[in-house]
């Protein structure tokens, strides 16, 4: 069985990528299971999706614990513990990162036993990354080695139908280019032999003790703890205020900011709280003087 996990941020198309890979496997005659996994969904938050494919009916369910292939659309997720990008990776797992840094750097940095591949996204000049999902899907399809170019193409047409010809065309172009670029790595993903799980290690079950209600009630006693949660880590794009152009009408940007992350000095000069700004860019769109620029997070000063 092939077990693939895809990590990205809400909005990068990882769910769609998992569906493209799933549909392509299905077209090749595989039994398939694909699913996204998220909590309280929102753009920019870490999400992941997974795909299982096998020639036999799939009885496994839920999160993939020992992936054969992990695809990461956003390298900044590697350092976010909650994203769990490296969970269950061992010497057999292939890690594919969308990153401008070479694979060797990542291999060394993460001290990984298994193979690492990277793909750069230099071509993308805009602050939107509309086809990163397609690039991931194209690469993954080639790396498993059992998906044909035409099955990939069919899957993209199927999954993106309804988004219009232009979107389909640009995703096709990206995905197929990515598929072609990984020709020399075709079939690098090797599912292990199905493990004989007996004799097994018994789970370390514990008797949950009785605790006094003061401890066992699910209360949060601290106030304003949301300040501690650095939601700024979700950001892929950041607003940057051009002081030259800013007229100081901070009631506009600070009012429209859904997260209260545009603060104002007593003089009315807006300042962005990058610890909590999620990069939705509403401030940029409402600024009457076009004084707020959208800057890719990795290019930010």
């Amino acid at each position: 069985m092939y077990r693939i996990r895809l990590h990205g941020r809400g909005g990068q198309g990882m769910k769609t990528a998992s569906r493209i890979i799933g549909s392509a496997f299905f077209a090749e005659g595989f039994e398939v299971q694909d699913a996204p996994r998220y909590g309280a969904e929102r753009r920019g938050a870490p999400i992941f999706a997974y795909v299982r494919a096998s020639l036999r009916p799939i009885l496994e369910r839920g999160v993939i614990r020992r992936p054969d292939l992990v695809v990461v659309a956003d390298e900044s997720l590697v350092q976010v513990p909650a994203a769990g990008v490296l969970q269950g990776i061992d010497e057999h797992s292939l890690l594919l990162l969308d990153s401008l840094e070479p694979a060797e750097v990542w291999q060394e940095r993460l001290k990984l036993q298994g193979p690492v591949l990277t793909m750069g996204s230099q071509a993308e000049g805009s602050s939107e990354l509309p086809t990163v999902g397609a690039r991931c899907a194209g690469a993954a399809a080639r790396l498993v080695g059992v998906i044909s170019r035409s099955a990939l193409e069919g899957a993209i047409r199927e999954e993106l139908a309804g988004l219009g010809d232009t979107v389909v065309a640009s995703n096709l172009e990206t995905a197929l280019a990515s598929f072609d670029a990984f020709a020399s790595d075709e079939g690098r993903v090797c599912p292990p032999e199905e493990a004989q799980l007996a004799p097994h290690t018994a789970p370390a079950w514990v008797d949950v003790p009785h605790d006094a209600a003061g401890i066992s009630a699910p209360d949060v006693h601290g106030a304003a703890t949301s300040v501690q949660v650095r939601t700024g880590l979700w950001r892929t794009v950041r607003p940057e205020i051009d002081a030259e152009r800013c007229h100081g009408c901070s009631w506009i940007c600070s009012t429209f900011c859904p997260d209260g992350a545009v603060l104002a000095t007593p003089e009315g000069v807006p300042r962005i709280d990058y610890d909590h700004c999620k990069g939705c860019m509403i401030c940029a769109s409402v600024c009457p003087h076009h004084a707020i620029a959208s800057v890719l997070e990795r290019d930010a000063s």
């Binding site: 299971q33 996994r37 789970p203 601290g222 304003a224 007593p266 709280d273």
Partner: protein
């Protein structure tokens, strides 16, 4: 017939579409919303001829569903978790009206504390309402279950509403290959709804579900619901035969896997049962006589069939993804009542609580549950109930509690305080 990749939610919507439902009262809730969104798109595109109305709550939604069903049209709706709980008064209500309708519940653990992930607490809260219950373990079963539920609920011998249950995430958002039957095949199995005497019209008003005092009439009407649900067992067997004939799939009230010579049986419901199947297969490879029993029908409870398939087993591991607070696993208690005192009944019925709030159940844990049950059978003494919970999970909670405690010390007990202004706010 086509075979396509569908989520559990997509399969539920396809079930409603193929059943040719007339009326869909709706209210959104995660992880169900995709069902009503899908149906809404089809209606909008003219691919499905039904009326959808968004109500202001699940309580009103189930009321509308019951009222519409009383007019003799085919009704479908869907909800989850808190939505089902919010509708609870009307679940009992419309079941008492004796109107057939199908309600899909996408299982999700109930608050508090709040979660989005699944267990069966929500649907089991509706256990005694008079709704029949079909529990699914694959996306295919969701589509099939909606068709079976309509036919079962509408049968004049039954005429009770039915819930089709699927697990959030593990089925609701998970795509699997699903056979979508042709409308012709479905119509052979599920002809248009013949409402019979169910013909409520504004122009010819009737009093639906009148008040009865004194206990005698009340007992009669309530017990008649019970009788109808009991009848539903036999009716289900009939329609499952029809289903197999017309649509080519077996959907028995109690599904079994490798039970023929099984000494130890796992009993559970829902999507994790496929994981149990996998574990059973692996254990069989090492020569262990283990099997799986999965009641698809939970209301009515297929007592006789469960007695039959479990008779002769030395021990049973009951896995409950629910917790009756102060009692234990609901399925365990129900199964105990069903087999107690029966000849050939398994002497050991071990209770395991697992998978609460979407907590995974690993293959090793299935192995261990079987081992614990086998050891108990050897010793002739039932093991204490066991929550599937590891040392590591408890350590993790202790860590969170440590943080909460530190926070409490910092803030002080019950002390009012202004919210802290973030740095740089200048105010």
């Amino acid at each position: 017939m086509t075979r396509a990749l569908l989520t559990g939610n997509g399969a539920a919507a396809w079930g409603a579409r193929l059943a040719g439902v007339d009326y869909v009262p709706a209210f959104p809730i995660t992880p169900q919303t995709e069902i009503i969104e899908t149906i809404e798109r089809w209606i909008e595109a003219g691919e499905m001829d039904a009326r959808m109305v968004t109500l202001e709550s699940e309580h009103s939604m189930v009321t509308a569903a019951g009222a519409a069903a009383a007019t003799g049209v085919r009704v479908f709706s869907a909800t989850s978790s808190q939505g089902l709980l919010y509708a609870m008064e009307m679940l009992y209500g419309v079941a008492g009206w004796r109107v057939p309708l199908v309600l899909v519940n996408v299982s999700r653990g109930v608050s508090a504390p709040v979660t989005l992930e699944p267990d069966h607490q929500d649907v089991l809260a509706a256990r005694d309402s008079g709704f029949l219950q079909i529990h699914c373990s694959t996306c295919q079963e969701v589509l099939d279950g909606v068709l079976l539920a309509h036919r079962l609920a509408e049968d004049p011998r039954v005429r009770l509403p039915a819930i089709v249950n699927l697990d959030g995430f593990y089925l609701s958002f998970t795509r699997e290959p699903v056979e979508i039957p042709s409308p012709e095949a479905v119509e052979r199995f599920l002809p248009p709804f013949d409402a019979g005497s169910t013909r409520f019209r504004a122009s010819t008003p009737i009093a639906q579900a009148v008040a009865v005092l004194g206990g005698g009439p009340y007992s009669y009407f309530r017990y008649e619901m019970h009788r109808a649900a009991e009848q539903a067992l036999g009716v289900y067997a009939e329609i499952a035969r029809d289903f197999a004939r017309e649509l080519g799939r077996e959907q028995p009230a109690v599904a079994t896997h490798r039970m023929d010579d099984a000494e130890i049986a796992i009993v559970m419901i829902g999507s994790f049962a496929t994981k149990a199947m996998d574990a059973v297969d692996r254990m069989r490879e090492t020569g262990r006589a283990v099997g799986l029993v999965r009641p698809r029908l939970l209301r009515p409870f297929p007592r006789d069939e469960l007695q039959r398939v479990l008779s002769g087993a030395r021990g049973v591991a009951v896995v409950d993804q629910n917790l009756s607070i102060g009692q234990g696993g609901v399925l365990h208690a129900e199964l105990s009542a069903a087999i107690h005192g029966q000849p050939e009944a398994p002497p050991i019925l071990a209770s395991f609580i697992g998978g609460l709030g979407g907590r995974d159940i690993t293959t090793e844990e299935f192995f261990e549950m079987v081992e614990v049950t086998r050891a108990a059978a050897e010793a002739g003494r039932p093991p204490p109930p066991r929550l599937l919970y590891t040392e590591e999970e408890l350590r993790e909670v202790r860590k969170l509690q440590g943080i909460a405690l530190a926070e409490r010390h910092e803030v002080g007990p019950g002390e009012a305080h202004a919210s802290r202004a973030p740095e740089g706010s200048g105010s």
